[in-house]
């Protein structure tokens, strides 16, 4: 089994969130989820808002990731993101109230609507983890 693993590193500007050996990773790319196994061809992609799912590591297997980049090279996947949260780090009550606020917000311009949609997506993804 050992030969099926690869390294997964999750980095934020402030800290290294996770550094583990995994057997599979599902990354939330900007246009949908991408599953990654050992031996994947080099990839560089932008991330959207979503959940990073990891298999085969003892630590948290799910992480909330809010945009960023992912790089796969030489059986090493590196996730760069400005926000990464473990399930335990999410404050459910706060997310609920944020979601309420976003849902009740009036958005008239295109920008406001985009922001509202993104905020709602963020909250919903966070709630999936709680």
């Amino acid at each position: 089994m050992a030969d099926k693993t690869f390294t997964c590193t999750v980095l934020t500007p402030e800290r290294t969130v996770l550094d583990a050996e995994v057997t599979s990773a599902t990354i939330p790319a900007h246009d949908g989820e991408i599953g990654i196994l050992r031996g994947r061809a080099p990839l560089l992609c932008r991330l959207g808002i979503g959940i990073l799912k990891l298999e085969g590591c003892p630590d948290p297997t799910r992480l909330y990731v809010d945009s960023g980049f992912a790089e796969v090279a030489n059986n090493k996947i590196t996730i760069l993101t400005e926000h990464a949260l473990k399930p335990g780090e999410i404050d459910a009550t706060k997310v609920h109230s944020d979601l309420q606020e976003a849902q009740n917000r009036t958005a008239s311009t295109q920008e406001e609507q985009d922001k509202r949609r993104n905020d709602m997506a963020r909250c919903k993804k966070k709630l999936e983890l709680v």
């Binding site: 980095l11 900007h30 246009d31 991408i34 061809a41 080099p42 560089l44 992609c45 980049f69 790089e71």
Partner: protein
């Protein structure tokens, strides 16, 4: 008598000051450890990001990124990072001296300067000099948060895209090691360094550029799947790298500040110790003189009676 009591009082107050400065030194030492850890924690992110930018720009067919090209019009922006609190020796003074020199140079070259200042000390100093400060921020704490820094970076990048500013320099205390820090200027915008690698490959020198870059990332020869296209990816990667570089400036400045405070407070504690020694000596001498005088009085009195 009065002199003696005065000396006791002064010695007491110097002792209190020494207690305070020593505590501040200890606090600065602890915070420095923290700041240093934070500064090193940014390194993996920064280097991976730099690799990604290099990989994407190598594969990008055209590079018309607004952050890469030089703005012809607009003013020269200067971002000065100072501390919120004093008691750190020449830390703020040295940064502000460099900032003022640069300011004069740019003014001498007939350029408008857009002045951005972070930290209460810098704001107070420049206001005293009567400079107009375009952006000031005294909310950044001793451990800068990425969200705060990226907000500042986003504002400046927006101004750059609108060609309001032609260049952006950051003036901050560079942290070289725990023993050496020096005020430094860093050019943040336009982004340089990337241009050359892609410039070469654009000019048909692609073989040359490929071999040059190969040792750095080790994947120049392999094809990378990009999603979305490299050029589009760069739209996001370049701002991210600017934000990151600015964040590194902030964390380095924070570590330097703590070192400066540590050194300054160590010096203050030592100086207070010297002063206490001197005052004790003076006090003892005064006490001895007083005793001698009293004795002489008594002996004189006895001599007069007998």
């Amino acid at each position: 008598m009065a002199n003696r009591r005065e000396l006791v009082k002064r010695r007491k107050s110097v002792r209190n000051i020494r207690k305070i400065t020593r505590t501040m030194q200890l606090i600065a030492t602890a915070r420095f450890q923290h700041a240093m850890n934070q500064a090193t924690a940014t390194k993996p992110y920064a280097s991976t990001l730099a690799n990604m930018v290099a990989a994407a720009s190598r594969s990008a067919t055209q590079l018309d990124q607004p952050l890469l090209k030089t703005n012809e019009s607009g003013s020269a922006a200067l971002l000065v990072l100072t501390s919120n609190r004093g008691f750190c020796g020449g830390y703020n003074g040295n940064i502000l001296r460099l900032a003022m020199e640069t300011l004069q140079e740019k003014r001498a070259a007939d350029m408008d300067v857009n002045l951005n200042v972070v930290g209460k000390k810098g704001i107070a100093y420049l206001r005293f000099l009567g400079e107009t400060i375009d952006m000031k921020d005294d909310s950044v704490e001793e451990q800068p948060r990425f969200a705060q820094v990226s907000a500042i970076a986003d504002d400046l990048m927006a101004a750059y895209r609108e060609e309001k500013i032609a260049t952006l320099d950051v003036c901050y205390m560079q942290f070289i090691s725990a023993g050496i820090q020096k005020p430094a200027m860093m050019r943040l915008l336009p982004i340089s360094g990337i241009k050359q690698a892609t410039g070469d490959s654009d000019d048909g020198d692609s073989d040359n550029a490929g071999t040059e870059n190969a040792p750095q990332s080790g994947e120049a020869n392999t094809t990378i799947d990009f999603s979305p296209e490299p050029a589009e990816l760069l739209d996001e990667l370049l701002p991210a790298s600017v934000r990151m570089r600015l964040f590194q400036c902030f964390t380095e400045a924070a570590a330097s500040e703590q070192v400066a405070r540590m050194v300054a407070m160590k010096a203050a504690t030592d100086a207070a110790g010297d002063m206490i020694r001197l005052l004790t000596q003076k006090y003892n001498r005064a006490r001895q003189t007083a005793i001698t005088m009293e004795l002489l009085d008594i002996i004189g009195g006895v001599a007069a009676i007998s």
